[in-house]
C-alpha cells in the first residue's frame, strides 16, 4: 500500500514513516506543507494520504483545507487527517463530500500502532475512521433529548464502534462477542432509530453519523 504523509514536525513525520514502514506500508513521499502535499498526491497517486491539521504557513487548519483540496484534485483520494484535538465541525466538513475514504483521528491514536494501521487500511479501502472522542461527543449530545434512550448499554457500545467506521468483525473482536450477536445488535439499533439497514459498511457509517449529527 502506497502512502503520502504531510506533517510539519520532523520527529512525528519520521516516527510515522518508520511505524508505517514497519507494518509493511510503502511511503512514497513525506512532506511538511500543503502545497507539497498537493504535488505529491498528483504525482504519486497514493492509496491514502495522511495529513496533519496544523501545517505551514498559517499553522491553523491548513491541513483540513489541504486535504479537501487534494480530494478535489484527485477525486476519491482517501485522506486520513490527524490532529492534536478533534472538532465535530471539522469532522462534518471532511464528511460533507459523502463519498467515504475519510479518516479523522487524534494523534494519540498512533500510540497503538496495530489499531492505527487498521484505521489507515480501512480508509485506504474507502471506509471511514472517526475518532472515538468525536463519536463520544456526538453520543453525549444526543443523549440529552432522549433519542438514544431506547438503546440498551450494549447497543450504545455497538453504535459507537459502528460510528467510528468499524466492520462487524472488528466490533465483534473488540467487544469479545460473536459476529452474529453484533449483527443482531445492529439490526435492533437500526430498527429503534428508524434507519434503513445496509450491508455496506461505509453507507452504514454515514447513515449513523448523519443521524447523530442531524
Amino acid at each position: 500500500m502506497r502512502v503520502v504523509i504531510a506533517e510539519d514536525l520532523f520527529l512525528l513525520r519520521d516516527g510515522l514513516t518508520r511505524m508505517l514502514q514497519a507494518h509493511g506500508l510503502q511511503i512514497t513521499a513525506a512532506v511538511d506543507n500543503g502545497a507539497d502535499l498537493l504535488a505529491a498526491v498528483t504525482a504519486d497517486q497514493p492509496d491514502v494520504a495522511i495529513v496533519d491539521v496544523r501545517l505551514p504557513p498559517t499553522f491553523t487548519d491548513e491541513g483540513i483545507k489541504a486535504a479537501l483540496a487534494a480530494r478535489r484534485e484527485v477525486p476519491g483520494l482517501p485522506v486520513l487527517v490527524l490532529s492534536q484535538y478533534v472538532e465535530q465541525l471539522y469532522a462534518r466538513e471532511l464528511l460533507a463530500g459523502g463519498s467515504g475514504g475519510i479518516g479523522y483521528l487524534l494523534k494519540d491514536r498512533v500510540f497503538d500502532s496495530g489499531q492505527f494501521v487498521d484505521a489507515v487500511r480501512r480508509v485506504a479501502a474507502g471506509g471511514t475512521a472517526m475518532d472515538p472522542e468525536v463519536i463520544a461527543r456526538l453520543l453525549d449530545r444526543n443523549t440529552g433529548d432522549g433519542t438514544l434512550a431506547a438503546l440498551s448499554p450494549r447497543e450504545r457500545e455497538v453504535l459507537a464502534l459502528m460510528a467510528e467506521g468499524r466492520s462487524n468483525a472488528a466490533i465483534a473482536q473488540r467487544l469479545v462477542i460473536t459476529e452474529r450477536a453484533v449483527a443482531k445488535h445492529t439490526a435492533s439499533i437500526f430498527l429503534k432509530l428508524g434507519l434503513q439497514p445496509s450491508d455496506d459498511d461505509n453507507r452504514r457509517v454515514l447513515a449513523v453519523l448523519a443521524y447523530l449529527g442531524g
Partner: protein
C-alpha cells in the same frame, strides 16, 4: 443600555415654511419647559413644607403648645413625605425631559448634544439603591440644573410664537372681531393695524429658525457632559476594570500552573518511573516489563487528554483557526440543545475580544443547558458601526437572576475590561434573552492561500 445612533443633522432653512415649522417646534420646547416647571414645583413644595415645619418647631411661639406641635408635624410630614415619594420620580423626570431635549435639539435645531448616563445597575433596585444610582450620576444634576434654568432660556424658543400670536391677535384680531379692543396709539386705523400685524407676524415666522437654533446652542452649552467630571468617572471605571482584569488574569495563570503541575507534569514523572521499572526487569521478566511499558503508554494518552482539555480552556484551537462564528458553531455542535446561529461577521475582532466573547457565549450555553430546560437557543452575532453585538436567546423557563448567579457577574466583569456591557431579560416563564455589546473594530478577513 441602548446604543444611540447620532440623529441626522437637519439645519433649519430660511423661509416661511421652515419658519412655521420652527414656530411649532418652539412651542413643543415650551411644553417641555412647562413640564419641567411642574417637576420643580414638587421640589419647591417639598422644601417649603419641610422648612415650614422645622421653622415652627424651632422658632414658633404663641398659641397653644400642642397645636403648634401638630402643625409642625403635619408640615414636616408633608414636606418629607413628598420628597420621599416623589424624589426619585422627579429626578428621573427631569432626566427624561433633558434627554428628550437633547434628542430634539439634534433632530430639529441641528445641534448634536452628546449624552452620557451611568447605566442603571442590573439588579432589582431598592429605594436607596435607586436614589444612590441617581445621586452618583453627575448627569442627574446637570439635567436638574437645566430644568431650573430652562424657564429663562426657553424664552428663545417661545419668542417666535409670542410674536406671531401678538401680531395676529393684537393687531389683526380687532379687525376680525369686535371683542378685542385695538391697541391705543395715534394713527391706529384698520389699514395700518393690518400692515403692522402682518409685518410683526412675518418677523416672528422668519426669525423662528434662527432663534430655535440659538435655543439649541444654549441647550448644548448646558447639557453637554462636563469634561472633567466625566474624565474622573472614566478614570474610576478604568481603574476598577483594570484591577479586575489583572486579578482574573493572575487567577487564570495560577489555575493553569496548578493544572499542569498536578496533571501532565505528574503523569510524566509517573511515566518516567514506570519506564525505569520496565528497564530494570526487562531481562529478568519480559512479561512484566511489557505490562509496565503499556501502562506508561496509557499514562501518556491520559496526559495528552488533560493537556487538550487545558488548552481548550485557555484558547480553543478552533477559535484561533476559524474565528468567533465557527468556534461558536463548533461549541453548538457539542451542546445537546438545538442551536440556531446567525452571523454577519466578515472580519475578525481583536483576539482578546474574540476570546472574551467566545467564553461568554460558552458560559451562557452552559447556563442554558444547566438551568433553563430550553429546547432551542438562538445565537445572533452582528457587527454594526464599531460594536460587536451578540444575542443569546432561549425558549427555556426564564427567571435567570444576574444578582444571584456568579456566572453572569463574571461575564459582565470580563466584558467590562473591553467597555463591553451585558443586558439580560429573563421573566419567569421565559424566554431568556441576553445581549452583549463590545465596542471593537474588525480586521479585514484573512486572505487564504488555498
Amino acid at each position: 443600555m441602548a446604543v444611540l445612533t447620532p440623529p441626522p443633522r437637519t439645519r433649519p432653512r430660511f423661509g416661511p415654511q421652515a419658519g412655521l415649522v420652527a414656530v411649532t417646534r418652539g412651542v413643543v420646547f415650551t411644553g417641555l419647559m412647562l413640564a419641567g416647571l411642574g417637576l420643580l414645583i414638587v421640589i419647591v413644595a417639598a422644601l417649603f413644607f419641610t422648612a415650614l415645619g422645622a421653622g415652627i418647631l424651632i422658632a414658633g411661639n404663641g398659641g397653644p403648645q400642642d397645636k403648634r406641635v401638630l402643625l409642625a408635624i403635619i408640615a414636616l410630614g408633608t414636606g418629607l413625605g413628598l420628597a420621599r415619594l416623589a424624589g426619585p420620580a422627579v429626578l428621573l423626570g427631569s432626566r427624561g425631559l433633558a434627554r428628550l431635549t437633547r434628542q430634539l435639539a439634534g433632530d430639529w435645531c441641528g445641534v448634536l448634544i452628546p449624552e452620557r448616563y451611568t447605566p442603571r445597575p442590573d439588579e432589582a433596585l431598592t429605594y436607596t439603591g435607586r436614589l444612590r444610582w441617581l445621586a452618583m450620576d453627575p448627569a442627574t444634576w446637570r439635567d436638574l440644573r437645566w430644568t431650573v434654568a430652562n424657564p429663562v432660556t426657553c424664552i428663545l424658543a417661545a419668542l417666535p410664537a409670542v410674536i406671531v400670536v401678538t401680531g395676529l391677535v393684537e393687531f389683526i384680531g380687532p379687525e376680525l372681531t369686535r371683542e378685542i379692543p385695538p391697541p391705543a396709539f395715534p394713527g391706529n386705523t384698520a389699514g395700518t393695524l393690518i400692515v403692522l400685524g402682518l409685518a410683526i407676524t412675518s418677523v416672528g415666522v422668519l426669525a423662528a429658525p434662527a432663534l430655535l437654533r440659538a435655543y439649541g446652542l444654549v441647550a448644548r452649552s448646558m447639557l453637554t457632559p462636563d469634561g472633567e467630571a466625566e474624565l474622573a468617572q472614566r478614570v474610576r471605571q478604568l481603574t476598577q476594570t483594570r484591577t479586575e482584569a489583572l486579578d482574573t488574569g493572575a487567577t487564570e495563570i495560577r489555575r493553569i500552573e496548578r493544572d499542569l503541575h498536578d496533571g501532565a507534569q505528574a503523569r510524566l514523572v509517573a511515566m518516567g518511573m514506570t519506564l525505569d521499572a520496565a528497564g530494570q526487569v526487562i531481562d529478568t521478566n519480559p512479561e512484566a516489563a511489557r505490562a509496565l511499558v503499556l501502562e506508561a503508554r496509557d499514562a501518556s494518552v491520559k496526559a495528552l487528554a488533560e493537556l487538550r482539555a487545558l488548552i481548550r480552556g485557555i484558547h480553543p484551537p478552533v477559535l484561533a483557526d476559524r474565528g468567533l462564528a465557527d468556534a461558536i458553531r463548533a461549541l453548538a455542535l457539542d451542546t445537546p440543545a438545538r442551536i440556531h446561529l446567525a452571523s454577519d461577521l466578515n472580519g475578525r475582532p481583536p483576539a482578546p475580544v474574540e476570546s472574551a466573547a467566545y467564553f461568554a457565549v460558552s458560559e451562557l450555553l452552559a447556563n442554558v443547558s444547566k438551568h433553563a430546560e430550553a429546547r432551542q437557543t438562538w445565537i445572533d452575532i452582528r457587527h454594526t458601526g464599531e460594536m460587536l453585538r451578540i444575542g443569546v436567546t432561549d425558549n427555556g423557563h426564564g427567571g435567570a437572576d444576574p444578582s444571584r448567579g456568579s456566572g453572569l457577574r463574571g461575564i459582565e466583569r470580563r466584558l467590562a475590561a473591553f467597555d463591553g456591557v451585558l443586558a439580560i431579560s429573563s421573566p419567569p416563564g421565559g424566554p431568556t434573552a441576553v445581549t452583549m455589546e463590545i465596542p471593537c473594530v474588525l480586521s479585514s478577513p484573512k486572505t487564504s492561500s488555498c
